[in-house]
Symmetry: C3
């Protein structure tokens, strides 16, 4: 099909949120094993949904002044991206897949979108998150097609089972580029406040992400590889958690609970690319390195980024998803036997490039729909008493 043709189909579909259910094949029938496997995929789809809505949602509640916005934004981002992704994919241009598999791919796009939103949290209004979702998903699908689907045949086979590159790094770089147009001088001068209660909500979100992460990485892995994959992911998370504690004490003198809530997850981000290939020992090492890198980012780099690059990355997504995502993608070079190294590097570079360009465009467009002149607080949009 010619590009012009499918663009003419894609645009109205996206606008109408039309979800053509009939185009989603459903050939299960009399084979119970096939049904059972789909239901097991669905179990993992639910786990991922816990991560998206509650994990990401509460991880972002660490901010005292816009916790309600963070939660509502998460609701809206999930609710706009899932049907939009399914609508676009239901056009059948890129082939059709069983319903649950398609749905899990839609969840992956929502995860990446939530990461991007973490960079600009607290500086846009609720309707702008909907706009962000509408802009993000088509670019995400484009990158997915190019890098994972190898639709234009100029990348090759990239190792990225759990999405270190196309989910985590893509979302992070999109968000950072969007933040360029969405950070005011005032924002930089005002520190983000948190308190003891919101801290604990944040740890709750983090723990939910930690616990269900193996289902994210193993969601679409062939059944016989699932046990090894999930143990790998847990071991990588153990590694990054221990490393985060040690690095936080070493770099700051005392522990920061924000480091624990965030960098402890870096092992999950980084193991994504190789979760089905690595040995347990390799998983531990990847986790330890990722946790250390991420804590270094939060403890040392974040301030510099704010001062010299003049952007605020509210949730530190570059430290949690950007750097560990790239590291995970690169770790495949050592871990995966017979890897096409050129393809892997091309995949990483293209992902970062597409994310930066589309994120920058996205940020510009969103800022045209309203830019905050005052420091944002929930009371601007919520009518409940504080």
């Amino acid at each position: 099909m010619k590009p012009s043709l499918w663009i003419s189909k894609l645009v109205p579909a996206a606008l109408l949120f039309g979800i053509a259910s009939k185009s989603i094949a459903q050939e299960i029938g009399a084979n119970p094993i096939a049904s059972i496997l789909q239901i097991q995929q669905y179990e993992r789809a639910i786990h991922i949904m816990v991560m998206l809505l509650i994990g990401f949602g509460f991880l972002m509640v660490f901010v005292r002044k816009y916790g309600r916005s963070a939660l509502t934004a998460t609701f809206l981002l999930v609710s706009i991206s899932l049907p939009l992704y399914l609508s676009i994919k239901s056009l059948g241009i890129f082939g059709t897949k069983p319903e649950i598999e398609q749905f899990i791919l839609a969840e992956f796009s929502a995860a990446s979108l939530l990461i991007a939103a973490g960079a600009i949290l607290g500086r846009v209004r609720l309707y702008q998150y909907i706009l962000l979702g509408l802009l993000f998903v088509p670019f995400y699908i484009l990158n997915e097609l190019i890098v994972i689907g190898d639709y234009f045949h100029f990348v090759g086979k990239v190792a990225d089972t759990g999405g270190s590159i196309v989910i985590h790094a893509f979302g992070a770089f999109f968000g950072i580029a969007a933040a360029l147009s969405l950070t005011s001088k005032q924002d930089i001068e005002t520190p983000i406040e948190s308190d003891a209660t919101t801290d604990k909500y944040s740890v709750l979100g983090s723990m939910l992400l930690w616990v269900f992460w193996p289902s994210f990485c193993a969601a679409l892995v062939p059944i016989e590889a699932i046990p090894h994959t999930v143990v790998n992911v847990f071991i990588a998370l153990c590694g990054s958690t221990l490393a985060t504690y040690l690095a936080s004490v070493y770099l700051r003198g005392k522990v920061s609970i924000a480091d624990i809530a965030n960098a402890a997850l870096a092992g999950g981000v980084a193991i994504g690319a190789t979760c089905d290939y690595a040995t347990h020992v390799q998983s531990m090492i990847i986790g330890i390195v990722a946790g250390s890198l991420s804590t270094f980012g939060f403890a040392v780099l974040q301030d510099k980024q704010q001062k010299f690059h003049k952007i605020i990355d509210t949730c530190g997504v570059s430290n949690l998803h950007g750097i560990p995502g790239i590291f995970g993608g690169l770790s495949a070079i050592v871990v995966v036997a017979g890897l096409d190294i050129g393809a892997q590097l091309k995949g990483i570079a293209l992902t970062v490039g597409i994310a930066l360009v589309s994120g920058f465009l996205g940020g510009k467009l969103i800022s045209m729909f309203g830019k905050q002149t005052e420091i944002y607080a929930d009371c601007a949009e919520f009518n409940d008493a504080e």
Copy 2:
């Protein structure tokens, strides 16, 4: 078996909470597929339990002054209704079912009971919730028998897979009718307080309900229909979430986080009746309409209900479960090909009727065991420091 005979068996059983395990058949044996399917049902049973205990429990914590009562009441309502339902059903009068299927049916009754309790929350004491459970379950089973089991052969086949009618609407109307005897003038004059921390607990409960809702609707659906059903439920929830945000802004000027926490779930309530029949597009539409109706209820109708009907529905169950439940039941007329429309309407009318009558009786009886003379606060029953 003659009615008089089974009543003589039922009453002592219910009183003794005797659960005759031997009457629950367990014919699995050598067939691994049958066992696997039962374990998959059990996975969904666990998801439903998350909804019951933590979802409903924390959704009700939005009240500042009786959060601990709300959580303890949830614990007690779940703990009384599950064994009571299993006891009554274990008498074998209505046939026996595999253990997990029976347990899921018991969870459905607990869900309906928790909805009913939401209407009177904060106006009864803890032991009265136990009494409520003891009164509610037999009437719930009666309605289940008449409307779903068609035990007396005067309804016909009703479409209500996920319980829009017999779980949500039944619970809501029971609760509202019970509230008639349990609302004082003082209650109407005192606004319900919430604060920023309790608001977030409420969103946590809401998100847990959102995420696991597909397992509720698909709990007893045949395996080959599960993938389509769960995607339908998620799409309906996306629709109601987006509609709730838009309707809340439109009707109130600003967003209410209470609308988001509650009305976002209306899609799940309404899709219940048709979750295995609807197309994805129909699910989206049902979700959007349900979310709009529910937000309208919270933003516009609730005040009127309080002023003119002189009842307080603490959690707004009529707006979240009553109206969207009825709408869901009616939507089957359009969605389900070959539906027996007469049966569907009869099923809805009977459910509302039985719920109102039994709820009114239940409320009267509960109020005889003590009526609050002061505005209730946790400190009346809890000895921990605030």
Copy 3:
């Protein structure tokens, strides 16, 4: 293999956290049923992980002054114990098991460790929890080998499917013995503070434990026994929840939310030993007795323990895991037909003995690495603002 030989292998392995993945067999291959069953085990492994990290973590947040320590400690205890257990077991001395089964056994050790840590919470520093983990796991494995594996052939077959004895009682007695060296006079004089927000976090942790408990008990049960086992566990929990409410009112005059959050779980602890053998009625009775015993412990015994034994058991693990664990172990004598009563009693006695001795040694060793001179508060180790 000679003891001296495997000690020489075990020690460096434990120190290096080396996880030899190749020694973990993976013989799945072409049989989809075997893969499906492993994935179902993995579902339960995830449920258990929710209990470990979020359930135990938040249950311990009831303390106002060191909630962040409690959460971080939970992260560290889980992250140190899982790889350490897998490392030691991967040496292959005691035979190898499929990956997920091995992982679930590792989770059991983490659960027992978290119970032990609950006794000394708030009186050690974060690095001392890591030390605790390093000391605890080898002793736990030793007890597991002797009592469950019957490695030295002097116990016989012990009924303890869900770990009432080797997980709950072992952890509790280890913790209490460790607390002997880690309680100062000052600690005894200072009451533990909690407030309304932290109370609710505690209930959240409790509810997560409640809901996922059946997956803990049924984790390694043969598939055909899983449905009956999980219903048993839920019924026991219902029983202990109802009994806790009644006992709390009876013993204290008013309800204590701390009783509800803790003693409601005693049914899960006690049913562990017999969860696959008991009838539903027996499960209800075991739950009711366990909930009553546990509430009696919290309401009456805890103060006496503090005054006369001069130890503080911060989370009351002796009341929640110690007494109900022993009761559960003993209940098998009545419940399990054909039980080797001698073996059962020997197993209980050995577990308590090994736990007390190793816990006492562990406490001494940990106290050598630093003993608090002031009442601990988060600010000693965390640099975030309160």
